[in-house]
Symmetry: C2
Subunit: 363 residues, 2 copies
């Protein structure tokens, strides 16, 4: 029987890829009854083997259907589930919201049992084997404002909660503009920078450093998925790209000008770079909050098994929780450098504890 308290006892996951399987794993961890489907039955079976649920179809209406198929197939899948009365509530997880709401309404009219959602989590890898029960932990999960009935909204919130996400309620259009800004345009920019490298010569690429690797990391993402996303969010993305193109024009003009009027060109270039500083400074820290002012402690260590263990053991004994760590490692060289991030209040304690124990700390 469908639960009418907003609690979720049974779920149908439609699309057993990275997102669907991660949702399923998280729900299984809370004892929810999960049924898995996929257009490719072998994919659903793989998810089931990972402990994400069963591929047996539900024998009655489930409390919730979670649609995690490709963006272009989302609206029609949602419409089919609503028409079939398969679930008391249907949510989708596509990266854009206005188009899904519009297309679902076009197909089935008012859809009070449908809630558009978007978990802000992903990886460059895809498929059920990349799934993780904790994929959504601490990450924003947008719930689109809509005419859904209260019980369906409640189930959507409960889904986010069970997955460990942070529910963020936004209008669909505001969501789409936001992801164009923080996700879709950065993806295009990364792909365009990386596209320049395709024709570069080996000697040039041999000079690449960490900066270029960071800028282009997301350029490794799945083109087919991203075509879907960009097409679904075409207008907000195009609008921001037009602004970006204007800036590119200005930079090019400034560069051609510097031979003639150094001052104007330099001022113009500086203005763009300063705006970049300002935008970057507004980014929240890695946990979705305000930028976290971790203190970074650089420590020199030998390149052999056990050195990191010894370092972290010493940090643990000093009672310091390591928040993040970054290794700059140079094989063939006797030493590497580890940057250990800790809460600012723990910094001094860590530095003096490590120094006392003979570690070389770049303070």
């Amino acid at each position: 029987m469908t639960d009418h308290s907003g609690e979720i006892g049974s779920v149908l996951v439609v699309g057993s890829g990275l997102i669907g399987t991660s949702v399923a794993l998280a729900l299984r961890g809370h004892g929810v009854d999960v049924h898995l489907t996929d257009r490719d039955p072998a994919v659903a079976s793989r998810a089931a083997q990972l402990g994400a649920g069963t591929t047996d179809p539900p024998d009655q209406q489930v409390d919730l259907a979670v649609v995690a198929v490709s963006p272009s197939a989302t609206a029609e899948t949602v419409a089919g589930l609503i028409a079939g009365n398969v679930a008391a509530t249907v949510v989708d997880t596509a990266a854009t919201k206005a188009d899904v709401l519009r297309d679902v309404r076009a197909a089935v009219g008012d859809a009070p049992h449908f809630v558009g959602t978007h978990p802000m989590a992903g990886r460059e890898r895809s498929g059920p084997s990349a799934a993780r029960a904790d994929l959504f932990v601490g990450r924003p999960w947008v719930i689109a404002e809509s005419e859904s009935d209260p019980l369906s909204m409640q189930r959507a919130h409960r889904l986010v909660e069970l997955c460990g996400g942070v529910a963020v309620v936004m209008a669909a259009a505001a969501h789409d503009a936001a992801v164009a800004l923080v996700s879709h345009v950065p993806q295009v920019a990364a792909s365009l920078v990386a596209a320049r490298l395709a024709e570069g010569d080996d000697a040039a690429l041999g000079l690449a450093g960490q900066g270029l690797r960071d800028v282009t990391r997301v350029a490794a993402s799945d083109p087919d998925l991203w075509v879907d996303v960009l097409v679904a969010n075409a207008e907000p993305v195009a609008r921001l790209l037009a602004e970006l193109r204007q800036d590119v024009d200005d930079v090019i003009a400034a560069l051609y000008d510097v031979g003639e009027d150094q001052d104007w060109g330099r001022t113009s270039l500086r203005e763009v770079l300063v705006r970049g500083n300002a935008g970057r400074a507004r980014l929240p820290g890695k946990h979705g909050g305000r930028p976290t002012p971790y203190a970074v402690v650089p420590v020199v260590l030998a390149d052999r098994p056990g050195e990191l263990a010894r370092l972290f053991a010493d940090a643990g004994r000093a009672g310091v929780n390591v928040e993040d760590v970054r290794i700059e490692h140079s094989p063939g060289q006797p030493v590497g450098l580890v940057e250990v991030s800790v809460a600012p209040r723990s910094r001094e304690r860590l530095v003096s504890a490590l120094a006392d124990l003979g570690w070389v700390v770049h303070d």
Copy 2:
């Protein structure tokens, strides 16, 4: 007395910022006699306090002068050192090479004792306190082909060797085109993406994830330094930016087209994303070689002091050297996920050792 074997016994470092002080620290580690100067004497003193050398001026000609001042002051500083016969050999470290060679020649004519060089290393932080003796370890250090005398070329190579860098000999123009591709254009793109964020609303920025943080990391860099670099390399950068602008135009056109002719728009978008995949795949691994296919082992761990220590201790006992590590950490949540990178041959050993010891490994 100046050494005529190409060996470097005494060095004058001109400009005691990040690069100059890092060079000085590396050379001091090999017992080289290092003299530090800076247009701001307090900066040179700070470098000296860090053990980078002495602020006393040399009492005779040094073997080598290393110029590490701002890009726009480089050529005139080199010219002054040559005119003053202060060093047997002068090298610079500026991010562009053709303009420095041209300006030095314009100032002093043929300059057989000058070698243009560019260490491909840096950080977002600057100043002597950000310096590290190992900043150049394993990193490419370009030596520009020029009419320098053999002994000066030899000293430049020896400098790179003492700093642990990897000497890469290139024509100045080829170097400038290469850094436009792998460093200057990515910097501009990162700044332009970040510039969009300056006006974004808080709710939108709250949805930002790791992808955006990676794309915009270098946008935090010093605008004044980068104006100098971009002006010095204006033509190669402008040429590549013009290509990038063409791609931006194509993407915008494709996005506006998708309403009318889905097929053309989708094909055009996909082509750009696929080129991005191809370019990204050509990037060398973090150590400057071919992409290193590290195996990634994701391990779940509790969010408390000592867990990382225990993990790395267990990895060390299994005889596995951890090459890199990335923490996805969610405070307030009971668990985090650590991605441990190891040599592919060590992967299976690590996974089974950790699983035997009770770690939850996402395999």
